[in-house]
């Protein structure tokens, strides 16, 4: 039987809008795959009521890290949780990034927008273990939105940064930066996580260039286990078009299965 896990927070790093929490969980660490997520209870009380879906940022031995943006009441309260406090966790859940086959010397591009960088660190380390050639594109609104740049570089990963206001790196959208670098480094596989508008642009580029792309989607989730049917996105899968549960089919979905909403176009 899968169970919720009571873990003790072992470390907390904070930036202005972002938080990194670490904890020990041999149970989750032994099973977790890059791209999977955890449902984290914010408090033991009834407000905020629901768990929050947060992707797994790193697995090192028996230690897990999550990285998130303080963007609402739930993540703001979660960001206040301190070292030595208990955290109630359910997971790992969902389907992660495709890592089957030979990645040796394969060119891969990872694109993270803002908090979307979170699962790409776990993925980058797994791809590095498989001897893939990796470039990570990391975009934010300002230089304050790139807190994990050094962490990637400390692990020997190449990071290409952009900011919308030009305060650091390439000035503009990360998708434009990636597109402009395409001639020098044409990937065989693209992995991305970030806002829907960014993912939609990547899906378009991937389709035009005929490169397989896997996108990690974000959604409001009620349960994370397939019971509530609240987290749906429109997909075309095995010839069927409809609302599919992101917690069950994803959160990582092949780009060519996603039917984008009008607002993302």
């Amino acid at each position: 039987m899968k169970r919720t896990d009571q873990v003790i927070i072992t470390d907390r790093k904070m930036w202005k809008d972002y938080v990194l929490l670490s904890f020990k969980s041999p149970q989750i660490a032994s099973k977790a795959l890059p791209g999977q997520f955890l449902m984290i209870r914010i408090t033991p009380h009834s407000y905020p009521l629901l768990r929050r879906p947060i992707s797994i940022h790193a697995v090192e031995g028996e230690n897990i890290a999550i990285f998130f943006q303080k963007s609402g009441i739930g993540t703001n309260i979660l960001g206040l949780r301190k070292k030595k406090e208990l955290l109630d966790i359910l997971g790992p859940l969902g389907n992660g990034f495709g890592l089957k086959g030979d990645f040796s010397h394969k060119k891969t591009v990872l694109i993270g927008g803002g908090r979307g960088i979170a699962p790409l660190f776990f993925l980058a380390n797994s791809l590095a273990d498989r001897k893939a050639e990796i470039r990570t594109f990391y975009g934010g609104k300002t230089s304050h939105d790139l807190p994990l740049k050094e962490k990637f570089e400390a692990n020997g990963l190449k990071v290409f940064c952009s900011t919308e206001d030009g305060s650091f790196g390439y000035k503009g959208l990360i998708t434009d930066y990636f597109n402009s670098e395409m001639r020098q480094f044409r990937p065989e596989r693209i992995y991305a996580c970030g806002p829907d508008a960014m993912l939609k642009t990547i899906a378009d580029i991937a389709a035009k260039e005929n490169i397989p792309a896997e996108l990690s989607l974000e959604s409001i989730m009620g349960c994370g286990i397939g019971a509530c049917w609240g987290c749906v996105k429109r997909l075309k899968k095995d010839g069927v078009t409809g609302w599919f549960r992101i917690c069950q089919e994803g959160p990582v979905i092949p780009a060519d299965q996603i039917i984008w909403a009008e607002k993302d176009k």
Binding site: M1, K2, R3, T4, R41, S46, Y47, P48, L49, L50, R51, G74, L90, S219, I220, M221, G222, C223, I225, G226, A227, C228, W229, G230, C231, V232, K233, G242, W243
Partner: protein, 302 residues
């Protein structure tokens, strides 16, 4: 040894804890987390005759100690359910209840006609109270006459006990409950969700694509409990209570108010083991107070 079993007259439950429709998927979603054999029963997500696409997202919004949903009863339809899901459920030793939906009376009847020929089902829960299918929240349970009409029709064709699930979005819920009783329902379950709205003040847009949705969770518990109490005082048939139950203590409140059994809804989202924990808490409550049979506590508010 504490006896948690409950006799509803038409159905015996090993304990009063039933997982509520719409919060428990088709049951199989919970098998990685709990042993379904330990439940008093579970109600399968609402089934129409045909598959249903449901509402566009966003379908959920969290509010103070509550959750507004407008899923729109997305589902695979009764035929695929009988072929693909039901065979995987029927060996569980628990009461399997099917939540029956319909766009109109004929569809309710068609779902029941189909299910009458399927094995392993303990009862039907007639869903005449979902607030987020029609844009304005309308449903048969808002009116005593339409309630009577649907219940009467289904009782005629059903080979199994019928539990009628009532809406709280009415002036006097006892009037609707009496109407369902008069039409022959074997029990009533209440309450379904409260018709609700949440707005993003920055964009002035509703938080849900459907605009309106149904509020559930701890926020509604005191009102749900009041309605269960009022209905239990008036009806001769069993009342199944629900609305924001998260703990054994919550469940006991409903039993003491007169419910013979309880349904657990939103709590399943927060903790997939919620039903089992509530059963354990009922056990402990009885043991600590030397209550031999939990049933003796029903309707004993002092």
């Amino acid at each position: 040894m504490t006896d948690l079993s409950i006799d509803l007259g038409f159905m015996k439950l090993k304990n009063p804890v039933i997982a509520a429709s719409g919060t428990f998927g088709y049951g199989i979603e919970f098998t990685p987390f709990i042993d379904l054999n330990h439940l008093g029963g579970f109600v399968v997500k609402g089934l129409y005759y045909s598959p249903r696409e449901g509402n566009p997202p966003p379908r959920l919004v969290e509010t103070s100690s509550g959750l507004i949903n407008a899923i729109g009863l997305q589902g695979i339809g009764v035929k695929r359910f009988s072929e693909e899901i039901l065979p995987r459920l029927i060996d569980y030793n628990t009461s399997i209840i099917i939540n029956v939906c319909g766009e109109h009376e004929d569809e309710y009847a068609a779902v029941v006609d189909h299910l009458n020929h399927q094995p392993g089902i303990a009862a039907y829960e007639l869903n005449i109270s979902c607030p987020n299918v029609k844009k304005d929240g309308k449903c048969p349970a808002l009116d005593p006459k339409t309630t009577y009409s649907v219940v009467k029709l289904i009782k005629k064709s059903s080979t199994r006990p019928v539990i009628t699930k009532l809406s709280p979005n009415v002036t006097d819920i006892t009037e609707i409950a009496l109407s369902a009783q008069e039409a022959g329902t074997d029990a009533v379950s209440l309450v379904n969700t409260f018709l609700a709205l949440a707005i993003d003040p920055n964009t002035r847009k509703p938080r849900l694509a459907n605009i309106l949705g149904g509020l559930s969770g701890p926020a509604i518990k005191p009102i749900a409990l009041r309605m269960v109490y009022q209905v239990a005082c008036r009806l001769k048939i069993p009342v199944i209570g629900m609305g924001g139950i998260c703990t054994g203590g919550d469940a006991l409140e409903f039993l003491i108010a007169g419910a013979k059994a309880v349904e657990i809804g939103t709590a399943n989202f927060i903790d997939p083991e919620a039903t089992i924990k509530i059963i354990n808490e009922l056990h402990n409550f009885c043991r600590e107070r030397k209550i031999g049979k939990l049933e003796t506590i029903i309707g004993t508010m002092k």
